[in-house]
Amino acid sequence: MQAFLDEIEAAVPALRRYARALAGDQDMADDLVQDCIERALRKSALFRPQGPLRAWLFTMLLNIHRNGARARRRRGIGVPLDELPVEPAIPAPQPSRIDLADMARAIDRLPGEQREALLLVVLEDMPYAEAAAILGVPLGTLMSRLGRARAALRTLTGTTPEPRLRTVK
């Protein structure tokens, strides 16, 4: 039991990091992680997961997050009105820099499955196979979500990979 708890403890910082990026809000993210640990403890009374604990914990965290997201949608609580995009993102004046606030907003606005995949690969630095296993999708699906996420981020942050013609006022 002690070793099992130590192993969970070792995964907590990464779970918090991932949850924070998924949920945006610190308290909501930590609630997610706490639910995840409690669920792990409850389940471990019945069986010990086969294979790496990290993947098991991330899978559980994602399930809790998705259920919560569903519940929030049912309650009609989503993006606050003043955060809704009212105008298209304007290309950044310096295309080489990505504004961090823009990036945070862009991640929030990614479709859930793209956000989940992108953050596992980019933020958690997971091998593609492990990320695909956590998401329960084939490797090819993971790669296409990753591709779409990267393209969507480019559009949402208004950064262009190449210099664009400026409109003359």
């Binding site: 039991m1 708890l5 969970i8 403890e9 907590v12 910082p13 990464a14 918090r16 990091r17 924070r20 990026a21 930590d30 992680v33 706490q34 640990i37 409690e38 792990a40 403890l41 409850r42 080489s96 820099r97 990505i98 961090l100 990036m103 945070a104 991640i107 992108l118 953050l119 690969v121 980019v122 933020l123 630095d125 091998p127 593609y128 790669m143 990753l146 591709g147 990267r150 981020l153 480019r154 942050t157 950064t159 990979p161 190449e162």
Partner: protein, 260 residues
Amino acid sequence: MTRPDTISEAMLHSYVDGRLTPGERVTVAQWLATDPDAHAEIALWQRQRDAIATLYAPVATEPVPARLDPHRLAAARIGRRNALLRMAAAAVVLVGVGIGAGWIAHDRLTPGASDLLIANAVNAHALYVKESRHAVEVGAGDEKHLVTWLSNRLSRKISAPDLSSQGFTLVGGRLLPPALDVPAGPVAQLMYENATSDRLTVYVTAALPGGKRVASFEKRDGLDAFYWANDTITCTVVADLPREAMQPVARAVYQQLTWR
């Protein structure tokens, strides 16, 4: 950008995510050097990576709040389970006191009439303890009328237990409709309050057919419910109190409402 056949899109992702063999890296890097569009695209992906890391990577080095410590959570879990076991044991002791044999104590009731009564008692508690002006139908000032009225409607002699030794005074009571699908008739609900405005309710009905003796301590919707039944009444005490406070109160209600 036009990619040579030797370089797949997956390889470009792998390049950015650091998942290529050194040989593959060189192949991709050489091609990127010849294709400015592709180079710009890949550079953007790398900047996205950097931005995401800048935003969220520091979270992993923040001190972890105590509530996320698995050792603590595991200990709390064991504590809760033991507390439940202690309560179940206490329920057994409680009903054993001065009653003699013939009681059946469950730490958990099977779904049935008793279960529905407990659920209804918890619901009614949650509904009325929130009320300030309309918490009760008849106030404690009219206690004599209250107990006569409720006794008549339940066709049982009901008295309001005196819980002053436990720090609770009677607020009053009300008549509630019969619980659905439970053949126990109308319900008398008595409400008590202590100095710190903690409220407890006592939910009494006539006995269920058969009048089986049952007792149980349950935790429902975050509330503690102590239920017992005999051949005269069923009674559920509902409160949100620390365990040490709940026990003497439940015992006092039990002792005063059990008569023969």
